[in-house]
Symmetry: C2
Subunit: 364 residues, 2 copies
């Protein structure tokens, strides 16, 4: 008998087909459903379990409740040859994001770089998905998004910013690409939840309690406390993580007309909705750079290869496996999961079964 | 009698005139000398003592020794309407940087954004100077530079990256601008030196020793150890600071043909020169975004004002003065120093007097 605490594994194709059909069942057109599923599957393949099919329930509930528009009319509302603002018409971020990112890449094809802000959109999956699209076109890609509040700025007691990720990727020639995908908080919320379930303390520098005082108690963070920005407290550079998170919030939301800071709407149906709206939806920001506008692309690829090999050859710190290149863990996870399937914990399997019952799409 | 350990203060105009004349004395043309002095004065005014006139000795020595070209022919070597690579002809970064940044802004005027990488250049002062130039034209500005090695990537025992700063600024309407200027290391090297002089331990998460092990001994960092990236160790997100520093290094140096990573040449005459060259000089990367390409600039300014006021109104954490907005400390320092002068410690005054003797430019 399978142990219910062990994750069950599912082939990626099976999860992909289920996800596509679930999106279609709540009115998402077939091509958009395929696109949305592709973003979620990229997350599961790359080992970022929190942002893949584990979130299907959230998207499904919001679509079923009419809170996300399944057939958005995505349009450019303001434009220059190298920049644009896109209105996502309250569509799935998983559909609006790739469309806006494609506009950034088209602009880069024409003038060397493209920068596209997006408003009136929703959560767009892993930020790392978007630079991978740029890599496929031989470009350097950037992506950022704001998100609902979880992080207190240094010296604040209030949740004011989301975990606001930054992703960027650089293509190598013989070496695999460098892929950066990082939240600007000290740590992911999921790690606090895990510590709470295991009744273990969290390290200093991860969180503050509801009064804004440092805490090592995960429950104190979850019950009205906040995550700290990258760097943690002031002494260790938390003001820098706060500044980066502010940069993401401003580019994605202030500059586009979306809801910024503490006003970013939540991802899930049950979560707190801010009492005030200062814009439309959440916001994203995409960038694409044509390498040929800076250096011969072949030479760039060789230089990236040299960079990677030089860093890998540096001395390992004692007791560590030695230097990793950004993107290594995700690439290794993908190789493993393409072969062995995607492990899903019981709670996620239960969610998918519940969606199957509601939607009539068979799961297992 | 004045206490020699107390800093003496000098009016900014006097330091500016001295600095301009010193640059001219080693062959820098008058307009370039004025530009270079302006970057250094901005640093002293903004309270970033390590990057202002305190560094004049380094620039002067390198110019006097013929290691920096006083009359560079700065030229665009590759270009698209929205991007370019500039060769700085081994000029002062204080001159090459503003010239390249101006090209980025001109491109932004035409196509909405401009991105300019620079190779064959030298240290460019504070990164925050460049976005201030963009603010003066009503734009959002970015600047980055790589620098000589001081930082070990997470799980490495070797210095592989510089403190590689990122600066970005956003104009408000009634509120002063938001100005971010941050190294991607956990802490500035200067803070380690201060701790060593005071014989005090440094916090965990700032540095490793020569073997790559965590240390709280400032001397162990200085004698062959390394700074840690923003975040510190792996548990607190040091891999994110490392990724940001890598991003800066790649955009500034790999993409432009400059020396990247551990091969970036040092700032001062006496410092170690890497045995291998993988490009020309160090590298910078500048960006400018025309706000009008995204949102009505007046509306953007009002939204930034709201953002600032909302963040200022958040609850202070216990025992803290409450939330600061990026740029607050530097603006406050500037107001104070314009009125009261620039405080210089004895070692810097000694350096300036030595330059005065060598150059024949009177100081005091």
């Amino acid at each position: 008998m399978p142990n219910p605490s062990e994750p069950r594994t599912y082939p990626i194709d099976r999860l992909r087909e289920f996800t596509e059909r679930v999106f279609q069942s709540v009115g998402v057109p077939e091509a958009d459903a395929r696109q949305a599923a592709d973003v979620l599957m990229a997350s599961d393949l790359r080992g970022i379990d929190s942002h893949g099919v584990a979130r299907l329930r959230g998207y499904y509930d919001l679509l079923a409740a009419g809170r996300i528009n399944p057939r958005p009319r995505i349009r450019v509302v303001r434009e220059r040859p190298g920049t644009a603002t896109v209105d996502g018409d309250n569509g799935l971020g998983l559909v609006v994001g790739p469309a806006a990112n494609a506009i950034a890449m088209e602009k880069a094809d024409v003038v060397g770089s493209g920068w596209v802000g997006v408003r009136n959109t929703n959560h767009f999956g892993i930020a790392g998905y978007y630079p991978l699209q740029a890599l496929a076109r031989g470009m350097i890609g950037w992506a950022m998004t704001n998100a609902s509040k979880l992080v207190a700025p240094v010296w604040s007691a209030d949740r004011m910013l989301g975990t606001n990720p930054i992703a960027i990727a650089f293509p190598g020639k013989e070496e695999p690409p460098i892929v950066i995908d990082m939240a600007t908080s000290a740590v992911a919320y999921g790690k606090i939840e895990i510590a709470m379930r295991q009744q273990k303390p969290i390290p200093e520098g991860w969180a503050v309690d509801a009064s804004g005082s440092p805490t090592t108690n995960p429950t104190a963070m979850i019950e009205g406390g906040s995550l700290l920005p990258l760097g943690g407290d002031r002494e260790r550079g938390g003001h820098k993580g706060y500044a980066l998170s502010a940069m993401v919030d401003i580019l994605c939301a202030v500059l586009t007309g979306a809801n910024w800071g503490p006003f970013a709407p939540p991802f899930a149906l049950r979560q707190y909705i801010p009492e005030q709206s200062v814009g439309q939806g959440i916001g994203h920001f995409f960038g694409a750079l044509q390498i040929d506008g800076f250096l011969d692309p072949d030479e760039f690829g060789s230089r990236i290869d040299d960079w990677i090999r030089t860093f890998r050859a540096s001395r390992p710190a004692p007791g560590t496996p030695g230097v990793r290149i950004p993107g290594d863990p995700e690439r290794e996870a993908e190789a493993d999961r393409r072969a062995s399937g995607i492990p899903l914990v019981a709670a996620v399997v239960d969610d998918l079964r519940a969606i199957a019952r509601q939607s009539g799409i068979p799961f297992d």
